[in-house]
């Protein structure tokens, strides 16, 4: 790899770290200005003033914000997020379990949806403006337009309640085998695939069509290559950057944006965990989860950029 390319990548990495640091400040500041009192939220309506006062002192809510930020950041870098205010559980342990579940679901949704989206995109280009293209576009637009909870409920009703092929509750735990887990998450995986498919498919189609106008494609065609070979061998490699970008965005969505799907399928992922703790003003957990979500976004986007840089022939072979 040429040295200036390495420099570009290093620059991008440094930018990522800086961005992460900035978002950590934002997360910490943001959680400080949430309305409501933590102690009141923890104890609920049936809290007595004494109980609230006792809890506030115990939580140490009276220290200055800057020292709390530094302490928190230092701990977080070492993987120590402290303990939850509400139930005293170790945040690192709880989150790693939840994050593992979220990644498990996201992984299987990605394994199905990414290749499918790209394949459908290629087929759409191959049969551009003919019925397969139209059908693929119409179907994928329809699935992205219907809210995910509607798709979820419809599938749940027919597949789980009427046919009873898979459970309507996607609760997974350690005592289940991989096959049991996969059966359990079948419905959310299908729903998530529907949600992210259209975006990636249409970007693939648009990016490749863009390249298809280039003169070298004509050369390839004149060589006598089949239409599909032209698309996969010549057009696709040159449109990797925009496709990777949108794929990464959707992967990030699969990790951080699936609260609704988690709730309706009772999946023990990060989203519900975060929502519960926001509602109870459990600041340390909200901060930890916010930091993890921010890292996932920044990391995936950084990966997209770096792949884009490396895949760009003009950067790879400078004059």
């Amino acid at each position: 790899m040429p040295s200036h390319l390495i420099l570009l990548v290093i620059q991008r990495l440094a930018l990522g770290v800086l961005l992460l640091l900035a978002s950590s400040v934002l997360i910490f500041a943001g959680t400080q200005i949430l309305p409501g009192d933590v102690a009141q939220a923890v104890l609920g309506q049936s809290a007595t003033p004494e109980a609230i006062a006792n809890l506030r002192t115990e939580m140490g809510l009276n220290e200055p914000a800057v020292s709390r930020y530094l302490k928190w950041l230092f701990g977080a870098v070492q993987g120590d997020f402290g303990t939850a205010l509400t139930n005293g559980a170790d945040i690192g342990t709880s989150i790693s379990k939840r994050l593992g579940n979220t990644l498990f679901l996201a992984f299987w949704a990605a394994v199905i949806s990414v290749p499918l989206a790209i394949l459908l995109g290629l087929i759409a280009v191959r049969f551009r403006n003919r019925w397969p293209d139209r059908l693929i576009s119409a179907m994928s637009l329809a699935t992205i337009s219907v809210p995910e909870f509607v798709i979820g409920y419809v599938f749940m009703f027919f597949v789980a309640v009427k046919l009873r092929w898979v459970p309507s509750v996607s609760m997974i735990n350690d005592s289940m085998s991989l096959m049991q887990k996969l059966q359990s998450i079948a419905l959310p995986v299908i729903v998530l695939t529907f949600v992210v498919l259209a975006h990636m498919m249409r970007m693939t189609r648009a990016a490749i069509l863009n390249v298809m106008e280039s003169p070298y494609i004509e050369t390839a065609e004149l060589k006598g290559l089949s239409r599909f070979a032209v698309i996969t061998k010549h057009a696709l490699p040159n449109s990797v950057a925009p496709i990777v970008n949108v794929v990464m965005l959707n992967l990030a969505y699969l990790v951080v944006g699936v609260v609704v799907v988690e709730v309706i399928f009772v999946y023990p992922g990060m989203g519900q965990y975060l929502v519960d703790h926001v509602a109870k003003r459990d600041i340390p957990v909200v901060q930890a989860a916010g930091l993890i979500f921010a890292s996932v976004y920044i990391l995936l986007n950084m990966a997209a950029d770096i792949i884009g840089i490396v895949a760009n022939p003009r950067l790879r072979h400078p004059k």
């Binding site: 104890l43 109980a51 789980a160 309507s168 609760m171 459990d282």
Partner: protein, 528 residues
């Protein structure tokens, strides 16, 4: 037995079952009858609990912030978990009587100023230790300590001192209280080894099931405790609670057979669900009420005529029909209904009366500026709808009622008990004394109507010390009338709890103390 057969035949003729399934079930029943013989039929086998099976509940009201520490329990799911793995000194039976559990018996001294609880012998904790009166004392100390975070602190306030003599646990009160045994049934007051001082959230107590998995906000798993002292309870091999907060997902889980019981069925869908032959709907007319509260010390609500105008302007019947879909009863601007012991049913029912509302409003001399009602669905399910109906009927009486929707997030800390007119709810308490004490006594922490009335306070203390039920009932009646006339409470409706059960679960007994048989569903039911 023949009733059951008859039932299937009826369903068949009304085309609810296919011919094949009728034959299959009829033959299964016949086979069972042959195996069980006549004795089962004679003794009515429905009353004979069967052992075994894995019971699964899908419950709303659990968060990943929950803890099994009884003191910290405020949500539906942990309350049910506590009833499943823990026990209290006393318990309120389905017909409203207080019965002894971990206390073998109890008796008052000095006119109710002191109470003796004989602690039951031979009861074991899940860790194998034997329960002693000392554990009881430590438990009560932990909940009544001034630095406690316990949700039961409010009801422990009247306790002056506690002591143990052998197997007797004695409570000394600052003023006599005839209801103390009722208070000891509170679900927070689960007896723990050493009072839970060592590890309050460990989930170790004396109940029929012991905790084997504790994943807050996700699931709890319990297994039968082999050394449990009472053979008439805890029939399942295992019990599981899955937290399903989404209403539709919970209903689907029951209908698809993944769970056997769900709580908080939405009133709008309860009747539809009941059509499913594998599901039955159980309703509990309890003490919970959906209300609007006015601060009687804040203008314009310090004007009694204006309060009366508003009280007459709410169409109670309509709210019960539309907001509760008929699953409830009209309220009478007091927090007490017939579900309470010593209820005075001679207090006249207040009805929707636009003319009276108009009359009172004119008499109040209100300047016509908007009267703001703060509301959010956090107050109760359907609060916004209820407030809109209230607004329409009030406007028809010429009262300038306006709504201010508030965010659900932070409603209990920022709006309720802060804004002078807001929607809210109460869950009810075992006895009248406690309900009045937590919400209507001048010094009450949650006096959310700012009702401060010396006459009322005096009557409350008088009734508390009175051991003669008839005299107490009379005093409670007077108090209800006083609050109904002078108070800031608009109580249009008492809601019902709606639970969904699989039809193969037997032993259901509605308990007005709370939903899911007051949380005892896993302890007292069995698979038929």
């Amino acid at each position: 037995m023949s009733d059951k057969l008859h039932n299937y035949v009826w369903k068949f003729t009304s085309k609810k079952l296919s011919r094949r399934s009728v034959l299959a079930r009829a033959s299964a029943l016949a086979m069972f009858a042959a195996v069980a013989g006549f004795s089962a039929v004679d003794s009515g086998f429905a009353a004979e609990p069967k052992k075994g099976g894995d019971f699964v509940m899908g419950l709303k009201g659990g968060e990943s912030t929950n803890s099994l520490d009884p003191a910290l329990s405020t949500s539906h799911v942990t309350a049910k978990a506590l009833r499943t793995y823990g026990e209290t000194l006393t318990e309120v039976s389905p017909d409203g009587e207080v019965i002894a559990r971990l206390a073998e018996s109890f008796s008052p001294r000095d006119g109710g100023k002191s109470w003796d609880f004989q602690i039951r012998k031979g009861v074991k904790f899940h860790n194998g230790q034997e329960m002693t009166a000392e554990d009881v004392l430590k438990t009560m100390q932990r909940h009544s300590d001034e630095n406690t975070k316990s949700g039961a602190l409010g009801i422990m306030r009247g306790i002056e001192s506690m002591e143990v003599n052998g197997d007797t646990f004695t409570v000394h009160l600052s003023t006599p209280n005839a209801d103390l045994p009722f208070l000891m049934s509170d679900y927070h007051l689960v007896i723990q080894p050493n009072g839970g001082l060592d590890d309050p959230g460990a989930g170790i107590a004396t109940g029929p099931y012991k905790v084997t998995a504790d994943e807050p906000g996700l699931r709890y798993k319990f297994e039968k405790f082999e050394d449990y002292w009472d053979d008439s309870r805890g029939h399942y091999d295992s019990v599981e609670i899955i937290v399903i907060n989404d209403d539709t997902a919970r209903a689907n889980a029951l209908q698809s057979g993944i769970v056997h019981a769900i709580n908080l069925v939405s009133p709008k869908t309860a009747k539809l669900m009941a059509r499913n032959p594998a599901v039955k709907i159980e309703t509990t007319s309890g003490k919970g009420h959906y209300i609007f509260v006015m601060h009687v010390d804040t203008p314009p609500f310090d004007n009694k005529d204006l309060r009366m105008a508003l009280k007459h302007a709410v169409n109670r019947e309509e709210l019960v029909d539309k907001v509760l879909a008929g699953y409830g009863k009209v309220g009478n601007d007091t927090p007490i209904n017939e579900a309470y012991p010593l209820f005075d049913n001679t207090v006249p029912q207040r009805t929707f009366d636009l003319d009276k509302a108009k009359e009172y409003y004119e008499k109040s001399g209100h300047d016509g500026s908007p009267i703001i009602l703060h509301v959010s669905d956090a107050a109760f399910a359907g609060a916004l709808d209820a407030a809109q109906l209230f607004q329409q009927s009030a406007n028809a009486a010429g009262i300038p009622l306006q709504l201010k929707p508030e965010p659900a997030d932070g409603y209990w800390s920022e709006v309720w008990n802060k804004k002078p007119f807001a929607a809210s709810y109460w869950g009810g308490r075992p006895v009248q004394d406690q309900m009045w004490s937590v919400g209507y006594l001048s010094t009450a922490d949650w006096n959310d109507t700012r009702f401060k009335n010396a006459e009322f306070d005096a009557m409350l203390l008088e009734a508390r010390a009175e051991l003669d039920p008839e005299k107490r009932q009379e005093t409670y009646g007077k108090m209800a009338r006083l609050v109904r006339e002078e108070g800031g409470l608009i109580n249009p409706m008492f809601n019902q709890y709606i639970d969904g059960m699989a039809t193969n679960v037997d032993g259901w007994a509605t308990n007005p103390e709370g939903d899911m048989m007051n949380g005892f569903v896993a302890v007292k039911t069995w698979f038929e």
